[in-house]
Subunit: 199 residues, 2 copies
């Protein structure tokens, strides 16, 4: 019984991970459920055993992705061996390296789905807003710590700086994907980390 | 003869404008050519009289949109009645008002297509890079003028500030579309125009 459950769980996780990878590369509309199932040799009928619809599948992909990603993010943004500004620098360096390894393809699942689906699905939009708020709060806590510690500017509130930092970074990732170069990310680092955010 | 030509030109322009509006709302993949044709009661066969393919149709949409938009943009960014920093403020105010009138839907055609299609079509990506470069040069010229005039910071080169300004703005537009509020655009204005860019 427990082996059967474990296998079911494995299939569900495998569907989420293959689906996530395809969505990252091709977007929501361009990703066919059949293609995800074929990649894993899972019969079509099984899909609805795990998920109610394509929309529900993507909600679960976002949750699965976010669970893993928020753990990594927390480790970076709460790393007490680094000052708060250095932690933001680490975040940028890690994201930049990841994008470079992918030849500036794919980008960010949350950003991609936001741009494509915010006007198409209230269910997905609601889920994406939740993720954005949660990330913004994590960055805000790090920035607030930096404002108290003294290495981050107090010229704006931590939450406003966090929201600005994240939206400007997602714009830089989008530009990097388009020109297929990490130069917009380096420009972001030079202007934001080496100058604007500094206390 | 000239009337017939004028009509053909009108049909082509109408196809581009209806197509543009649908692409803005729903993206490339979600927009069906048949839907564009039905909206204008143009027979299906006619489409290939005007365009080689859906990809070519979108290249022509981008060019048509950019021709109109760059004229407006030039008027704003070269407005000698305003200082260079004020012109950037006018650009933000105009874009913000437009997005607000659309209830934070649609956003920017170039940003939307970049996010959706940069990994899917080299033809579209190439076209989008051209538009981004051309816009960046227009903003850079305005910023350079502000640096000489004395109302914009010289802490970074005009081209780096222009690239940063545009990618950060596109990220703020994406966030506004997702949360369905212009608050990220107001936050951008507070941090960038009232603070970071000031000399």
């Amino acid at each position: 019984m427990s082996t059967k459950l474990a296998t079911k769980q494995d299939t569900r996780t495998a569907l989420l991970e293959v689906g996530m990878d395809m969505m990252l590369e091709k977007g929501y509309t361009n990703t066919g459920i059949q293609e995800v199932l074929s990649a894993l040799q899972v019969p079509k009928g099984s899909f609805y055993h795990y998920f109610d619809s394509k929309e529900n599948f993507v909600v679960e992909i976002i949750r699965h992705f976010e669970k893993e990603y928020s753990t990594q993010l927390r480790a970076t943004l709460q790393n007490s061996a680094r000052t708060p500004l250095e932690r933001l620098r680490d975040y940028c360096a890690e994201s930049k390296q990841k994008l470079e390894c992918q030849n500036c393809r794919k980008g960010c699942l949350i950003g991609n789905l936001s741009q494509e689906m915010a006007d198409q699905s209230e269910v997905l939009r609601h889920e994406l807003v939740g993720v954005m708020r949660s990330r913004c709060n994590m960055f805000s806590a790090c920035i607030e710590e930096g404002q108290k510690f003294g290495d981050i500017t107090k010229s704006h509130s931590a939450i406003d700086l966090a929201q600005f930092f994240l939206s400007a970074w997602s714009g830089a990732v989008m530009a990097a994907k388009t020109i297929k170069s990490i130069e917009p990310l380096q420009n972001f680092e030079t202007i934001i980390l080496n100058d604007m955010l500094k206390a």
